[in-house]
Symmetry: C2
Subunit: 374 residues, 2 copies
């Protein structure tokens, strides 16, 4: 088997699993921090591991342009390059290429585009995307697809999804099976249940090591997203991991886990760390706000991250105002630690069969809001 | 005794000592990383300690303006505020205030100036500078002085130095003695030996816990700087620590240690860490240079810092080109580690009585230059 997935427990539709990949195991439900350009921004890789992360995400688009996939391969692959010795999932480059708008030209075979870094011309096809991800040595490779835009008419969503399914089949043929390495297909179809069903059918007919739900978290809102999951997830093969791409806020993740999703990635904890935003048990807060200026308390006295163990809100506020790099370092660490705490909580609750109770507590704490100012 | 200094060994004019301050001991010769605004830029405080640093420097000017000395005091002092539990030396604010040029007005009593952050008006006098440093809870307080500009005529240098000596006496009276806390006087007089002598006389008559040599590293060049040390250091009391302010490159530090200096601070290792510059046994190198692009070797295979243990030059080059925060984090760590390695080497050589041999090896390695490209 290329990539193994063990289902350890379930609680309703929610699943507690374990992926065994070439570079290690991943306890699911899992959150994957974003390592876009070969670094989880503002974190040493050993610090990322200390938060409890077992897998990170690398971006094909960024790495193919800079420093180049062949260069990373010559330097020993992405694990060695960035000194992250655990599993890595790479995206296919499709999402970023499609976002280029005026700088890219789509045809049935692939996409030609210009580098936003230096204007040079590049081409991505399903085959080249798979090749790049092999050069990067990704444990989990993603199919090259067109992430359907939002809002979108049914006709355009159909054409886009069917193109992605053709590309998925081509990617599957281009992918070389190796022990511990896997290829995931991506379900498209926007908010149209029958398109999602057609996409799942097409992908399961091809056969993948895992299935991602794509085209969400693009502006459709949480209710529509959960609606798509409600119709899509039950159609996915039980014995393969399920990955909800680009999601999300803590409440999005909790709702998706309840619906049977196993894997997540999102830019919010790392980007938030660079923009004064902290995620906590009691909701989100902005440490740039003057009400933190004299507050000797940590972000969360129950959090075990270095920012909360060693530093006051007043200090973090000061670092943010002074535009100090340490602000991004500490807040990113806190946010990644919080997200991993969230996943640990969810995994424990599924094992204990107490997910509903756990979620009720989660929602009660989130709704309570931040501690009042001193 | 306010601040104790034990002379453990000497080798020629060079000294191996130990300062015992309120928050811990400092082995000398010592290098103090710059913690300007309450953070050693791009470093967690525990990482700074891991490099071997035992004391850091805080800037009165920056901290009085943001977040404010009274605020830091209310939050438990600078050690608690930045979570650096070891000794801290604060400068007096004089150097930065004098650099403001058009934004400040000097009179015999002190300086009035406008904050470059928000335009608000502030005043520093010898007494207020001492008070701010007490509010910050500095283990070592520096006298408020006028750092004489360069180049400077003898008459102007004389007037400037004598003003600083008046202020030094006022600062001494304003300083409250406490066990483990000390006040340093600053020798001025530019490159004029008789002015340096007059300044040393004035300061030793007042009596300080340590003596700094100020007004150097302002553009006069290494030969002129060493010339000033050659005439100044022998006049300083043997039993008190000697601090060369704002110095310097590794070769400057080595030459000053040989001349009997015990303490140093400099922006170069931290600033260099944010501008692609690495300090090594074999000189300085710029990792932005394309020749590092495919180089799998570390900056220095004999260095034990995380950048050299875990990462290639190619990776560091990539991070720099991609403007990733991790570039500043890893290079700053490397540079601070190198500077502390340098100080460990100097201390060991003085203890062993082999400083001349150690310096010959240091100079030979530095002159050899960086390893050739692969």
């Amino acid at each position: 088997m290329s990539l193994s997935f063990d289902l350890l427990a379930s609680n309703g539709a929610a699943r507690r699993g374990r992926i065994t990949a070439a570079h290690g195991t991943i306890e699911t439900p899992a959150f994957m921090p974003l390592g876009t350009a070969g670094t989880i921004k503002a974190m040493l890789p050993q610090s990322v591991a200390e938060t409890g992360a077992e897998i990170v995400l690398g971006n094909t688009f960024h790495l193919m342009l800079r420093p180049g996939a062949e260069r990373v391969a010559a330097l020993g692959g992405l694990h060695t390059f960035m000194n992250w010795r655990r599993p890595i999932l790479t995206d296919s480059g499709g999402f970023q290429v499609m976002s280029l708008k005026d700088l890219r030209k789509l045809d049935a075979d692939g996409v030609t585009f210009r580098s936003p870094f230096d204007g040079s011309e590049h081409r991505l096809t399903p085959e080249r995307s798979i090749e790049i991800q092999r050069l990067l040595d990704a444990d989990i490779t993603m199919s090259f697809d067109e992430c359907t835009s939002w809002p979108v008419e049914r006709a355009a969503a159909t054409a886009s999804m069917r193109l992605s399914m053709t590309w998925a089949a081509r990617g599957r043929r281009a992918f070389t099976e190796r022990p511990g390495y896997g290829l995931f297909g991506i379900v498209q179809g926007s908010v149209y249940p029958e398109l999602r069903a057609e996409s799942v059918q097409a992908l399961t007919r091809i056969g993948f090591d895992g299935y991602a739900v794509g085209g969400l978290a693009v502006g459709e809102g949480q209710a529509a997203m959960f609606g798509v999951l409600d119709v899509t997830v039950p159609m996915l093969p039980r014995e393969r991991p399920r990955y909800l791409m680009g999601v999300g806020r803590p409440a999005d993740i909790v709702g998706a886990v309840r619906r049977g999703i196993d894997m997540f990635d999102c830019v919010l904890p790392t980007r938030g760390g660079r923009t004064a935003q902290a995620f906590t048990r009691r909701g989100e807060l902005n440490l740039r706000n003057a009400r933190h200026r004299d507050d000797p308390r940590p972000i969360d006295e129950r959090c075990a991250c270095p920012a909360c163990r060693h530093h006051s809100r007043a200090y973090l506020h000061h670092l943010i105002r002074a535009e100090e790099i340490l602000a991004a370092m500490l807040l990113t660490w806190h946010n990644l630690h919080y997200y991993q705490d969230l996943m640990r909580g969810l995994r424990g609750a599924i094992e204990a069969g107490s997910l509903d109770h756990w979620i009720a507590t989660f929602e009660e704490e989130q709704s309570r809001g931040d501690i009042p100012p001193l």
